[in-house]
């Protein structure tokens, strides 16, 4: 495992947030997730450079291309927003959800957690992956779930947690905790 550290502490100096979805790209939906996640990161890492990239459309190749660039630039943390569900695979009218599959295609070291509804549909697939110095995670599109997931991720990093299993487990638990109770 190749993680940039200083005195055993994971250094987070350079974060990239990548919203996904045609509706975000076109402005039909205003991206409120990125600013909220950026705030979380800056609260924990005041000196960090945080960049929100242009939204990527629901296209696996484009997501992979963006991911490749981030890894090439040695970014410490990449957060993809949205595209985490089963989407079009289950319901034809839903958007195409590709962030999890793109991460899994491009990075070999990854762990995931899938949240299924009782109807058998995959509601969300959260992935934590690492290549070189770069940690990559995805969070769901809905605001409360995205923020809670990002919060869990930042907390893991602040606690110097490096185990991808633990990171993805805590992120998925955070998302689950935001589902309305029966």
């Amino acid at each position: 495992m190749d993680v940039r550290r200083k005195g055993g502490i994971i250094l987070i100096n350079n974060v990239v947030i990548i919203p996904t979805g045609n509706e975000v790209l076109s402005g039909v939906v205003t991206d409120t997730n990125s600013p909220a996640i950026m705030q979380l990161i800056l609260e924990q890492y005041p000196e960090c450079r945080v960049i929100r990239l242009k939204p990527v459309s629901d296209n696996e190749d484009e997501i992979i291309e963006q991911l490749e660039e981030c890894i090439h630039e040695n970014v410490d943390l990449v957060i993809f927003i949205g595209g985490s569900g089963g989407g079009h695979r289950y319901v034809s009218t839903l958007a195409k959800d590709f962030t999890h599959s793109a991460i899994e295609k491009y990075i070999s070291e990854y762990k995931y957690k899938e949240i299924y509804g009782k109807n058998g549909h995959m509601w969300s697939k959260l992935v934590a992956a690492r290549q070189g110095n770069t940690l990559v995670v995805n969070v769901p599109g809905p605001y409360v779930e995205a923020v809670e997931a990002a919060k869990a991720c930042v907390k893991c990093l602040a606690e110097n947690e490096k185990d991808l299993n633990v990171i993805v487990d805590r992120i998925s638990s955070a998302v689950l905790s935001k589902y309305p109770k029966n």
Partner: protein
């Protein structure tokens, strides 16, 4: 959150939801959490916006039957039309409100896959 079956890489969330699709709206610059908040206050249920285009909105509404949604169509349309980024038109309507579809037993793969029928169904898309 309902009870969950924890497996190694997957969790099943035992929560009921109805998928609601509203058509005939003009959407631009919508902040989905504002819609979720407004509608949640109106129908007293949890809501997630799961799909938006310039003309339609798709949402998960938790713990409610489709009939209850359809019964108050005009109230729901009135509530969403007050949200910034949504303009209702004379064509605005609830296009569909469906309880999440249960798994068809015929679609469950048989054979070597491990687990109960539902877990095996979950493996279809892997």
């Amino acid at each position: 959150m309902g009870s969950e079956l924890n497996m190694d890489d997957s969790v099943i969330a035992y929560i009921d939801k109805t998928v609601v699709r509203i058509k005939g709206v003009n959407v631009k610059g919508l902040k989905p959490f504002e819609l979720e908040k407004k509608l949640s206050e109106f129908i007293q249920r949890g809501i997630r916006v799961i799909g938006v285009t310039g003309e339609s909105i798709e949402m998960d509404v938790y713990n409610i039957d489709p009939e209850a949604i359809l019964k108050d169509e005009s109230g729901i349309i009135k509530a969403i039309s007050t949200v910034e980024g949504i303009t209702a038109t004379e064509l605005t309507k609830i296009d569909s409100a469906k309880k999440i579809v249960e798994v068809n037993i015929d679609n469950i793969p048989k054979g070597q896959q491990y687990g109960c029928q539902k877990e095996r169904w979950n493996n279809i898309d892997k």
